[in-house]
Symmetry: C2
Subunit: 324 residues, 2 copies
Amino acid sequence: MWIDGLQYCNWSRGIFEQMRAGGVDAVHVTIAYHEMFRETVLQIERWNRYFEDHSDLICHAKTAADIGEAKAAGRTAIVFGAQNPSPMEDDIGLIEILHTLGLRFMQLTYNNQSLLATGCYEAEDPGLTRMGREVIAEMNRVGMVVDMSHSADRSTIDAAEHSVRPIAITHANPHVWHAARRNKAPEVIDAVVSGGGMMGFSLYPHHLAGGSDCTLDSFCGMVADMVETHGLAHFGIGSDLCQDQPDSVVEWMRVGRWTKRIDYGEGSAAAPGFPPQPDWFRSNADFPRLAEGLRAVGFDATGVAALMGGNWLDFFDKNFGPAT
Amino acid sequence: MWIDGLQYCNWSRGIFEQMRAGGVDAVHVTIAYHEMFRETVLQIERWNRYFEDHSDLICHAKTAADIGEAKAAGRTAIVFGAQNPSPMEDDIGLIEILHTLGLRFMQLTYNNQSLLATGCYEAEDPGLTRMGREVIAEMNRVGMVVDMSHSADRSTIDAAEHSVRPIAITHANPHVWHAARRNKAPEVIDAVVSGGGMMGFSLYPHHLAGGSDCTLDSFCGMVADMVETHGLAHFGIGSDLCQDQPDSVVEWMRVGRWTKRIDYGEGSAAAPGFPPQPDWFRSNADFPRLAEGLRAVGFDATGVAALMGGNWLDFFDKNFGPAT
């Protein structure tokens, strides 16, 4: 079972075919960055059309069991998530509504301060807000995973402590391997995984040591180091793959409607667009290379299976429904 | 299994307790008259709170199987419906979204012309619109029942003919028994039931022969006549019970936001409010009286069981999910 913990592609039949070719059994897809509730519903409507029009390749999954059925039917299961709490607006009742519609991950922040917590680009991080604590409790109740990939350190540690269920960093890498602002300090990773949480390793060049020139061996060596430190059970892939997206999309991610200026985020004025992917990971068809790379750094079949998706599947199984 | 095919009460724990006392196993509740999508979602949020706060008495049902589980657990199952297509706005993609959120009935019109068909208060009835035909096909696909209770005759017959799955008149009575504008002509009833459709008999005084003074015997005699003409399988109760509602609510039903004037609908300037219920049917606790009344006019146990809810349950079972 191979599962990708995050993608935001310019979806097409070609990409869905690559998912099948690459042996990708399930993908957590972002359906909202800065979209408010009604706009997020439009994105779900768009996915419903994909599910109708490409039912031979993909289907919607709300549970780990759905992913098992999809695999048996030769289809890639799609799990919805949001990278910002914008879809719930300022209404805690929308969490259950969005969960019913299939949302299984929600970041408490994108890069900025939200109503709930602090993003990793703010100068100050006062931690979880009053509403943030209420929202985590409601997400815990219905079974929607708290994702802190784009959040600041104190907020992330607060969230891990406040949440009664495990949380996730779906797409990031360790800061010790590559000191990007989006990569995570050891104490943040500790806080997340010690509570049973998951971290998905990112293949987005700004998160990679060496950027677009990062080698598969370096990436897989980093994975091996993390497993040695924290154990096998808490890691997977969260590729952050943005296949076929125009640069206008990375601008939308960074700027949304919160400023009228340009904010380059992880980019710069000299390099404002999507950075080129490493040549060994350009599309969904390249997932087998990750498995090869993990074997090459010494993982056995059990380790490769856990890291390529088994750990995500276990996590989904425990965290995608009401607490029992 | 006792099922009510329509209610719109001023919901409270007291009413939910009466449902249990009255032996009501499931109720199709109206969650929208003129509410647009976001407002309808707020109504679902409100119901989600009822389900949390009164989980000992009620629960949400999306399938006939859910109703069976609710009964086994001693709870009344709540099924959502809309009396107007306002919740889907002008967006066919919202039908699947609303279905996912639990909407299982949608009237194509309230009293006026809609984007889809004609309501029973319009002077002219040109029948189903272009969008109306598309929407019925989509409702057929996902398993949302076309409800024509407040529609005009030609539109209703068109809908019955165009729909590939059975449709419903959830709350109305035969026009031959009481010549109200909302009651249905023989050819309309024929069109609906001949396609496997259902009709729920209304206890709303404006639909009753003699109004608030209608007797239980007269009501049950009408039911017996309909069963004699059309067979037992196509009828149930759709009480249209509006317990504890202030008169401002009947004004909202009639006027919505489509006029700035007052439209009295089935009422009048002299009697603008909710009419008093017959003394034998004032609340959810009075359902056993309907069963007694049906026995008194000659129905055996099989007949009473079918009319009190068995027919609705069969209909829900066949029509609340994707076509097989």
